[in-house]
């Protein structure tokens, strides 16, 4: 120990005796309820190795040197914009394709100049057409219904001229049938005479996390990875402006994963996708820069969420550099739309306006961990599907207040060098690596999903959290504490009409039934049979890339379900393991 540290250790001892002990005695405490960090907690700290500069390896201090919205540009709420960036707009989607097209036109008339960030309904996400018995009651509810290219074409009627698909970016929140949706975008471009290399889009295309959280899977993990490989190869060769995937730990954390599980599982999943690309013969730096991240999970634990983001950036950079031998810094970037936040599961149905306060804390964590000061989600998140415009306004204003009044974004990684934050970041990364290696020794992430390990670990963590809430170990204001009779349930009206028309949601199913009937009547059904046969033959050949076949299928107006049924026949369906 250096002389400096020795002196600190001695002073610390003295402090504990002279200051801490009397305070504990005064308040009748057996232990100091707080902690104070000193250089003793970070003895061999190497700034350049552990932190570095924002936008430089190992990216602990930030993915970029700075974010564009801070360069004097006004963000538009959840989506920081800049004239230099082409980005998709706010996540949206409902009803029949006609309804969503009209919504997009309305947004355009209100000044929106962003591409669609498409929420699909559950039948689409699970490979069922709107007229399937499996789809009953679900059509157009969690997003827009897309059964065939016809539906996709209708949505994109809102995107022409200055908003044509070579000038905007689209987001597709879809996983299991991601390659079908990519095929539709390609077919749409070809029909419009747009070179496909000009397309910009981000499909979520992160199927493995669906087995662990959210459950929007179709095929078993192995063939799902083959679909992933097909995306990686096809996008790398033909669609240079598409992101390959948008990896998210968020869904796993919301499903109950701990912070450490979120980190390790996200990293191990990302690394498995990278390995698919390498196994397919691609050079790591040729495709890793097209990997993006969506969002990790969050919680109310302010410090830990900031440490998590710092650890995640460093871990991803190390995976790329040390494990995959990447040389391009761009390959090592953890490119993500959002940083720390509180997570939807931190919001409460009870006294919901408290969620505003919670998300302001999340907005601070977000800004202090390298992102925009996003105060997300809007406070009425737990009240039902879809946020009110009032709640969105309040959330956006919270962000603006943090940025422009509190000036919270003026410093990058304000905790850099903090004895506390650096040691917490190190710990977080270490736990992440331990779990990462554990999954590798189980045979990798696919094996760990097939055995049910990851799903069960997450369910167990969810149950542990529930038990801690029920026995009062974890406190949630207004839910398991401070609920006495003198507490007020403060509410506010949500009166501004939402642009989603609830009547249209109700009518979406019947509208889509008619649309599908017309599609199936008007198309050449002999060529549909042929392209589906070709798809089946290709699917049986493991080495073949299915995307060219899927493009042929969608051009013939084959439906999502027809394509998925053929693949279900070849690949099988995933059945959940027991809990």
């Amino acid at each position: 120990m250096s002389d400096d540290l020795k002196a600190i250790a001695e002073t610390k001892k003295e402090w504990e005796e002279r200051s801490v002990a009397p305070a504990m005695k005064r308040f009748k405490l057996a232990e100091n309820p707080t902690r104070f960090y000193t250089p003793l907690d970070l003895p061999d700290f190497d700034f350049l190795e552990k932190v570095g500069f924002p936008g430089q390896y190992p990216f602990t201090a930030g993915t970029y040197a700075f974010l564009p919205y801070q360069a004097g540009l006004k963000g538009t709420g959840f989506i920081p914009q800049s004239p230099e960036l082409v980005r998709a707009g706010r996540y949206s989607g409902y009803g029949a394709p006609e309804d969503y097209r009209d919504y997009q036109k309305q947004m355009y008339s209100l000044g929106a100049r962003t591409g669609p960030n498409i929420a699909f309904d559950l039948p689409t996400q699970l490979g069922y057409d709107s007229d399937s018995p499996m789809a009953e009651g679900e059509v157009g509810r969690t997003g827009v219904a897309v059964s065939s290219l016809r539906d996709f074409e209708v949505i994109y009627e809102a995107f022409t001229g200055e908003m044509n698909i070579d000038r905007i970016a689209s987001n597709f929140t879809i996983n299991a049938p991601a390659n079908m949706i990519i095929a539709m975008y390609v077919a749409l471009a070809e029909k419009r005479g747009i070179p496909i290399e000009k397309l910009r889009a981000t499909p979520q295309n992160d199927i493995l996390k669906e087995f662990v959280g959210r459950g929007a899977y179709i095929f078993p993990p192995q063939p799902s990875m083959r679909m992933m490989r097909d995306s990686i190869v096809f996008i790398t060769r033909h669609l240079p402006n598409l992101n390959i995937t948008s990896i998210g730990g968020y869904h796993m954390r919301e499903a109950g994963a701990t912070r450490e599980q979120d980190l390790a599982f996200s990293m191990v999943i990302g690394a498995a996708y990278l390995q698919e690309g390498v196994n397919a013969g691609l050079e790591i730096d040729s495709f890793a820069p097209r990997f993006s991240f969506n969002v990790f999970g969050g919680s109310m634990e302010f410090y830990k969420e900031i440490a998590f983001q710092r650890a995640a950036r460093r871990m991803w950079a190390r995976i790329l550099k040390e494990r995959f031998g990447a040389r391009e810094p761009r390959s090592m970037l953890l490119r993500q739309a959002h940083t720390a936040h509180i997570g939807c599961s931190a919001t409460t149905l009870q006294r919901p306006l408290n969620n505003l306060v919670r998300t302001a804390v999340g907005g601070m964590a977000s800004a202090m961990s390298g992102g925009a000061p996003e105060s997300w989600p809007p406070y009425d998140e737990p009240l039902g599907l879809g946020w009110s415009l009032e709640a969105i306004q309040l959330a956006e204003d919270a962000q603006r207040i943090l940025q422009h009044e509190a000036k919270i974004c003026e410093v990058m990684d304000p905790f850099a060098g903090s004895y506390f934050m650096e040691s917490l970041t190190d710990q977080m990364e270490e736990v992440g690596w331990t779990e990462f290696e554990k999954i590798q020794t189980m045979g990798g992430v696919v094996a760990a999903i097939e055995s049910g390990y990851m799903q069960q670990e997450v369910a167990k963590s969810a149950y542990e959290r529930q038990k801690r809430i029920e026995n009062g170990e974890d406190l949630v204001v207004g839910v398991n504490c401070f609920t006495g009779e003198h507490e007020l349930e403060v509410t506010t009206a949500r009166l501004v009409p939402h642009p989603y028309d609830p009547e249209k949601v109700e009518l979406a199913e019947s509208k889509q039934m008619a649309n599908l009937k017309e599609v199936k009547r008007a198309r050449d059904n002999r060529s549909v049979t042929q392209v589906l046969k070709d798809l089946e033959a290709a699917a049986k050949k493991e080495t073949e890339n299915l995307i060219p076949k899927l493009i042929e299928c969608v051009k013939a107006y084959t439906t999502i379900q027809e394509m998925c049924d053929v693949l279900r026949g070849v690949f099988g369906k995933y059945e959940e393991t027991n809990i």
Partner: protein, 144 residues
Amino acid sequence: MGQERKIRVLIAKPGLDGHSRGAKVVAYGLRDAGFEVIYTGLHQVPLQIVNTAIQEDVDVIGLSILSGAHLTLTQRIIQGLQEKGAGDKMVIVGGVISPDDTLKLKGMGVAEVFTSGTSIRQISQFIKDKVRTGALASFEGKGD
């Protein structure tokens, strides 16, 4: 006469919603509270749930739905139970359900709706109370 028969609960995920945290946490919790719990897994059509409930001879069916499709799906399941002579089974629903829809669900015959923030203790107590007061007709006299 042996031990009192445990109350049998089916925790089901109807429709395409894959958010299973609530369903699994409630399944674990009720199991620990002494119930016999069967979990269906995801992506069940109403008829599958009706059939499982009958085959497994459950007393209570807990439906977990967070996709907004709760009215249609619950209606189908209650209809299916009635058509198969199992209308006496208690149906409870959990999920993101508005107060208006809670009333509609109760109008269909749902015994209770549990939303976010509910403790497992409350659910378990509710089921036990219903059993004790005899509201759970199918449970009565089933000791083996």
